[in-house]
């Protein structure tokens, strides 16, 4: 597969609606910038020539202050900027807020590779396959340093941090293979941490899942095994909430905590509950849960969380971090 075509484009290809929208802002602002740059440059040259020094000791006319001018050239740029601010912010919120019907893929970055976990259980390294016309949500974390997922053709980018989940979403309109860069400096091979996103027509995607894709047991199922292996089930019983809270149906809901505050049970909350249980104590419970810091790999953690989530019917949208 030739990721690096032998052409020399001056502009990235556009594969999502979001990308088209970001291009529109960009060109609008480019126009504004060009206008002001040329205006300033033009004025400077015109004035500097028009008023060039005629005789060695002549001086300029005494300056006459003009407050209205000062006001004008403060307010006009400000107005333009505020307008651009609203437009840009609108898109930013769309980009940071995944739709609730998005398919969820888990991404783990490590020096210097990408690991992808399909909801169906398939795992991929560096090259992700997704269906077209379908909102895709990446739930991402890192095993070591900060990385960043960047797909220029989609105009999406998000840092991938150790110790927490960040999300990114896109909805590819057309099939094709697009570059995925690591965009945050992460050490020696940073510039080699390049993968790809292959967008397939839904039918082809099904085919790919069935055939080419290395089908494994669904991640949630693996999680269920872990749940007993790691003796979670000794406390978290499906029927009784005496020892530990019931985990069924809590995903996306608000959880009342001992200190009176509430927390929303999203991926990051589950992660913290498992690795640092003392941080947020559920109301009406003791701080009995041992920490699993260092006892679970990122993958296992993901599988456990997928399992706990699967206990909740139709996953509702968890607000992105």
């Amino acid at each position: 597969m030739n990721l690096w075509p032998q052409k020399f484009p001056l502009f990235p290809e556009t594969a999502t609606e979001m990308a088209a929208e970001i291009d529109r802002i960009y060109f609008a602002f480019l126009g504004i910038s060009a206008f002001f740059s040329l205006l300033i440059a033009g004025l400077v040259f015109y004035l500097a020539i028009r008023y060039r020094r005629r005789s060695p000791d002549d001086v300029g006319k005494p300056e006459q202050a003009a407050t209205w001018l000062e006001v004008a050239w403060s307010v006009i740029p400000l107005a333009i900027l505020v307008a651009m601010f609203f437009w840009g912010t609108k898109v930013y919120f769309e980009a940071r807020r995944p739709p609730s019907d998005a398919l969820e893929y888990y991404v783990t970055g490590k020096q210097w590779m990408w690991k992808f976990q399909h909801p169906e259980g398939n795992r991929e390294i560096n090259h992700l396959h997704v269906p077209a016309g379908q909102a895709i949500k990446l739930i991402m974390t890192s095993e070591d340093v900060i990385h960043s997922v960047f797909v220029p053709a989609f105009r999406v980018k998000m840092d991938v941090l150790p110790g927490r989940y960040t999300t990114l979403w896109f909805k590819a309109e057309k099939a094709g293979t697009f570059r995925l860069f690591c965009n945050e400096y992460c050490g020696v091979e940073h510039s080699k941490m390049i993968g790809s996103v292959t967008v397939l027509e839904p039918a082809d995607y099904e085919e790919w899942l069935a055939g080419a894709g290395v089908a494994g047991p669904a991640a949630a199922a693996t999680g269920e095994e872990l749940f007993s292996q790691k003796i979670c089930d000794t406390c978290h019983k499906p029927d009784s909430a005496t020892l530990a809270p019931l985990l069924a149906g809590i995903f996306g809901k608000e959880v009342e905590l001992a200190d009176g505050t509430v927390a929303v049970a999203d991926e990051n909350y589950f992660r913290e509950s498992i690795l640092n249980p003392g941080a947020k104590i559920v109301k009406g419970y003791q701080n009995l849960m041992p920490t699993y810091q260092g006892q679970l790999t990122e993958d296992e953690l993901v599988q456990l969380i997928l399992y706990v989530k699967s206990l909740s019917p139709a996953p509702t949208e968890g607000p992105s971090p």
Binding site: D58, A65, V82, Y92, N276
Partner: protein
């Protein structure tokens, strides 16, 4: 003025008042300390530049074939660190500011001459630490030292480099402190705040940022070193820390720091424009207050470097709008400079070429800055070459143009010699052309999606990269020319009169070079700043 030229040889001034290495290394004369700084920062500029040359050579071909990836990472890291902390931040304040502020306000020296000298020694110690780290093998964290890479994963000379920056930080704290006290307490009789040259206002604002911001950087660096040394968890999540807290602390200093780098340059431009348009600056008060406004607002926008760092969307929104606000005072300045040319008497001397270049390039750099501050756009261009182009347009196209312009403008005052006019114009033009060829293609590369800090890149990015590398060579040559003729002029240049440009301002009323104590009689000031009409009437009368 032939008279001053004739007596030049006999007249005692700060350069010939005393001879010998000792008289320089132990001097408390702000003018000599400025020279010491000039030598040091020039050295660092060429070191940083040499690394830039290697970076551009490597990037001339897509395959990372010139140096190892690891070497490349160390190159851009040390390029950034050297250029920012050891060249640009001290450049204008410590050289031109040190030399001129006391003279411009009619004082015999800065308030604390010993501290001034101390700050140079502290700077040098920091510089030596950094140099040692570079020679020992360098550091590969990027100039931003992002955790946990810098604290846990990097195996390079992080601690010694960090220590070097930490130490140097104190020299800029002391310089800022010295300037603030001097400007408050040492002004000549009659020199009210609103008669000060805008160069002094700019340095006042800069000093505020130096004094308020640098301590935070110091402590942040200390925390990084502590985590690295003792493996105590502060920023590394594996140890229970929070890597994003580091970014907040780092940018809380490092965004204001960008105004440490540009404000002095803006001050220089105000002086150049007025001197070569022979006209009082348009909107004096607005420019003066704009400097202070930038210094203060600058402390509220650090989060615009972290839009995609998992910072909350609301924080992002606030930082975005504040970044827009901080842009306005800069806009005001640009417009006022332009308006100053109207009905002026403009002469196209070399310093003026640099000043006009500054206005154009700073505008482009700034406008791309507000594009980056626009959340929707930053999603795509964050940490791509678009950002690299943005800050080089401001720091190289802006700040350094201002620095070179100022150096040429005051060179006769500092050395008592004139530089060759022809060559200075050639170099100004070469630099301008080379600069644009180097960095304009990087805007396109950025939007095309080329991430920064890449040692190798996809082949379809090559053409633009080759253009950029070609430009860098021209730029390099452009920087070498002044290096040569300025040194040449110190010995062979024509002797300069007290006021070769026919400019107003106290520094042009003392002989070139100035006597050790600047003024025989403490001057009293009656005129407003840049009052060329009054000056002319005086001459006629």
């Amino acid at each position: 003025m032939s008279t001053s030229a004739a007596e030049f040889g006999r007249r005692e001034h700060y350069l010939n008042a005393d001879w010998g290495v000792k008289s320089w290394l132990l001097t408390r004369d702000h003018k000599r300390i400025a020279i010491l700084y000039l030598i040091s920062i020039t050295a660092f500029f060429f070191i940083g530049g040499l690394m830039a040359v290697l970076i551009r050579l490597e990037l001339a071909t897509p395959a990372g074939d010139l140096v190892q990836p690891d070497t490349y990472n160390r190159l851009f890291t040390m390029h950034g660190i050297v250029m920012i902390f050891f060249f640009l931040i001290p450049s204008i304040p410590a050289v031109l500011g040190n030399f001129l502020i006391p003279i411009m306000i009619g004082a015999k020296d800065l308030a604390f001459p010993r501290i001034n000298l101390a700050s140079w020694y502290i700077y040098s110690i920091g510089g030596l630490l950094a140099m040692w780290s570079i020679l020992a093998g360098g550091v590969d964290t990027g100039w931003t030292f992002y955790t946990p890479f810098s604290t846990t994963y990097s195996n390079s000379y992080v601690i010694s480099t960090a220590l070097g920056i930490f130490v140097t930080g104190f020299s800029s704290i002391l310089t800022g402190l010295n300037f603030i006290v001097t400007i408050h307490r040492m002004r000549a009789p009659g020199l009210t705040w609103f008669r000060l040259p805008l160069f002094v206002w700019a340095h006042y604002a800069t000093s505020l940022v130096m004094v308020l911001g640098t301590p935070v950087l110091a402590i942040t660096i200390l925390l990084v070193a502590a985590e690295r040394l003792f493996h105590i968890g502060i920023f590394d999540p594996a140890l229970g820390g929070d890597p994003v807290l580091f970014q907040h602390l780092f940018w809380f200093y490092s965004h204001p720091a960008v105004y440490i780098m540009i404000l002095p340059s803006m001050g220089v431009i105000s002086e150049l424009i007025t001197a070569f348009a022979r006209k009082r600056i348009f909107g004096y008060n607005f420019i003066a207050f704009a400097s202070v406004a930038i210094a203060i607002l600058g402390f509220l926008v650090w989060g615009h470097h972290m839009f995609l760092s998992s910072q909350s969307v609301y924080a992002g929104t606030v930082f975005s709008i504040l970044s827009m606000l901080v842009a306005v005072p800069s806009a005001v300045k640009v417009f006022n400079w332009t308006a100053t040319l109207y009905e002026g008497s403009v002469s196209w001397e070399t310093p003026m070429l640099y000043a006009l270049g500054f206005i154009g390039l700073f505008t482009i750099g700034g406008l791309t800055g507000v594009m980056l501050a626009t959340l929707g756009i930053d999603i795509h261009v964050h940490d791509t070459y678009f950002v690299v182009a943005h800050f080089h347009y401001i720091m190289v196209g802006g700040a350094i143009m201002g620095y070179l312009g100022g150096l040429h403008f005051w060179w006769p005052k500092i050395t008592g010699r004139l530089y060759p006019r022809f060559w200075s114009m050639i170099s100004a033009i070469v630099i301008f052309v080379g600069f644009n060829l180097t960095f304009f293609p990087q805007f396109l590369l950025g939007y095309l999606g080329m991430p920064r800090r890449y040692h190798a890149y996809p082949e379809d990015f090559q053409v633009l990269n080759v253009m950029s590398s070609a430009g860098a060579t021209i730029l390099g040559v452009g920087y070498l020319i002044p290096m040569i003729y300025l040194i040449w002029s110190m010995r062979y240049g024509k002797r300069a009169s007290a006021n070769p440009w026919g400019a107003v301002g106290l520094e042009w009323q003392v002989p070139s070079p100035p006597p050790t104590h600047n003024f025989e009689e403490t001057p009293t000031v009656e005129d407003e700043a840049y009052d060329y009409t009054a000056a002319k009437e005086k001459k006629v009368a």
